[in-house]
């Protein structure tokens, strides 16, 4: 495993595509943070700017993983590992660890300008502990997403198809998570009548309110959508982006579950896969 990991990490270091993704991630974050710095005097929550970037880097991570793993298939170099008797499980795990480290690097390239910009903000917006925990959730989500993309990359042997599927899958998962989150964050009423008493107390007259048809009432449907959005790495990232986290304590555990299931499925299928 160490031998394969060393070889894979060296290859990643020498891969242009990896550095292009890191640089794009950094430049996008600089642009985003620069614009943010212009508005610095009105910025109330600079921490959210840092967390916001994770969603942006997911697409770049998908591109990087698809290209990195696809190269081993398109140039048939994966054979060089198998012919000399490397264990298939170790080949899979080594690739998985390598691309996860690459995904971290891309995320980090996104985070550094955002963290630097945070020093210029009016207010950080949350405690250091809360920020650290949310960053931990983001890191776990990146690991889980990398595991899902590794599964696709190791099982789809055509590089172009794999790249297209990985990018589309990331978009679909991100868009799906955003839509689900939008439904979950819908208010119960579109408008309501409210009265303020002489004591300054606000009284809501529900009989005169307009119910929101988009609102999902508490029940099985809402529980399922909440669970889906909590489990999906893109759902977690979207919640970090909007700042409204439903079950933040469980999110790292969900990410670990996604990592474990994706890797187990990937290893089992890859071990029996016929390669050309």
């Amino acid at each position: 495993m160490i031998k394969l990991l060393r070889a894979d990490l060296t290859r990643m270091r020498k891969t242009k595509g990896f550095w292009v993704c890191v640089i794009i991630s950094f430049v996008l974050s600089v642009l985003n943070s620069f614009i943010f710095v212009i508005d610095i005097r009105t910025a109330e929550n600079t921490a959210n700017n840092i967390l916001y970037g994770t969603a942006n880097s997911l697409v770049l991570i998908a591109v990087f993983i698809a290209l990195f793993l696809g190269t081993d298939y398109s140039q048939n170099t994966i054979r060089n590992k198998m012919i000399i008797g490397s264990n298939r499980t170790l080949i899979y795990l080594s690739n998985s660890v390598t691309v996860t480290i690459g995904a971290f690097a891309i995320s980090l390239a996104e985070d550094i300008p955002a963290i630097a910009a945070a020093f210029f903000g009016k207010s950080f917006g949350m405690t250091a502990n809360e920020f650290a925990f949310r960053m931990f959730i983001a890191v776990c989500a990146v690991i889980a997403m990398s595991a899902v993309l590794t599964l696709l990359g190791m099982l789809i042997t055509a590089k172009s198809a794999n790249t297209a599927i990985s990018i589309v899958a990331t978009f679909v998962l991100a868009l799906g998570a955003a839509i689900i989150l939008d439904f979950l964050n819908q208010p119960e009423y579109l408008s309501y009548a409210a009265f303020v008493t002489n004591d300054g107390e606000e009284i809501v007259d529900e009989s005169d309110s307009t119910p929101n048809p988009m609102y999902i009432k508490p029940g099985v449907k809402r529980d399922i959508l909440t669970a889906v959005n909590d489990v999906l790495p893109t759902g977690q990232v979207m919640q970090l982006e909007t700042g409204s986290l439903h079950n933040k304590e469980l999110m790292p555990l969900y990410s670990f579950g996604v990592l474990a299931v994706s890797t187990a499925v990937g290893v089992v299928v890859f071990r029996r896969k016929d390669l050309k």
Partner: protein, 303 residues
């Protein structure tokens, strides 16, 4: 005889198509084993199974005595292969490709890379990336990658396909050098029979997923040996003459026969004249590997 590879009733099925249909073969140590068959006969499928890229549907094989059902991966560490196209990183130089394979194998340091590049004639490629190499250079780099772990068994699948005449000569000489100087056993699959006949010490003929015949080059030479094909007025009289002078022969028909061994045409003409047999023509005749193969598997093509 010591064998490096023995396959036992190997079968490989893709859906309803039997790519290998009970193939049993033996590759002797130190040989250059020419694996001959048409396109689609199952040559590449067998090599994929040996390399661990695919799994047999049934049957098994032993590599250095290790059975495919057991701990075959240790035995695979002693082999190298180039399957179809060379497996190289196109964005890397020749040296970087070899370094990468050294890391995969876990060889400490990069000693021996310079020698390997010299061996395959790529020592002067410098910083030129593999994507800018000619097909022959890529093929030789692929062989160099396969040689990284100092293997003593090399599998080459169609190594001269698409090469120009110069490239073919380079690869041929490299294979002979590896076999003679480094004592590497080579399994080489090809359908370019003329080229294979310049290399192979043993042959395995495969057709429709089965091994039709396994034969040494020496025995094949005997079966395809040179002879004199003569056309005469009556082969009965010819037979009497040849028996009298003790020559080996084979009667083809009433007017044609093959005579084996060195023979003086003048003496034969005189002897035939005395036996009242007219000599119409004499041609040197030998059965090529190609003709032997066609006779063995039939003339129809499954391309």
């Amino acid at each position: 005889m010591e064998y490096i590879l023995k396959t036992n009733n190997l079968k490989k099925t893709y859906g309803k198509f039997n790519a290998l249909n009970g193939l049993s073969m033996n590759v002797p140590k130190g040989s250059i084993y020419g694996f001959v068959g048409r396109n689609g006969a199952g040559k590449t499928t067998l090599i994929r199974l040996i390399c661990g890229l695919q799994f047999p549907t049934s049957g098994d094989f032993t590599l250095y005595g290790k059975n495919s059902g057991g701990d075959i991966n240790k035995a695979r560490r002693r082999m190298g292969a180039v399957v179809e196209t060379p497996s190289i990183y196109l964005d890397m130089t020749a040296e970087d490709n070899l370094k990468q394979q050294y890391r995969v194998i876990g060889i400490p340091g990069f000693d021996g890379i310079k020698e390997l590049l010299e061996l395959v004639g790529l020592a002067d490629t410098g910083k030129k990336k593999a994507k800018n190499f000619s097909l022959g250079m890529r093929q030789r780099l692929g062989i160099a990658v396969a040689l990284c772990g100092n293997p003593d068994f090399l599998l080459l699948d169609e190594p001269i396909n698409g090469l120009d005449p110069q490239g073919i000569i380079e690869v041929r000489e490299l294979i002979l050098k590896l076999n003679r100087e480094k004592n590497i056993t080579v399994l080489i699959s090809s359908h370019i029979l003329d080229e294979l006949s310049r290399l192979a010490t043993h042959y395995g003929f495969i057709d429709q997923g089965r091994l039709v015949k396994e034969i040494s080059a020496e025995d094949l030479e005997k079966e395809c040996r040179k002879c004199m094909r003569v056309t005469v007025s009556d082969t009965k009289n010819l037979a009497i003459v040849l028996d009298a002078i003790g020559m080996e022969y084979k009667i083809i028909d009433e007017k044609t026969a093959d005579i084996y061994g060195a023979l003086s045409i003048t003496k034969l003409t005189e002897a035939l004249k005395n036996a009242d047999c007219e000599l119409f023509g004499v041609n040197e005749h030998d059965e090529s590997l190609e003709a032997y193969f066609i006779n063995l598997v039939g003339g129809s093509s499954n391309d």
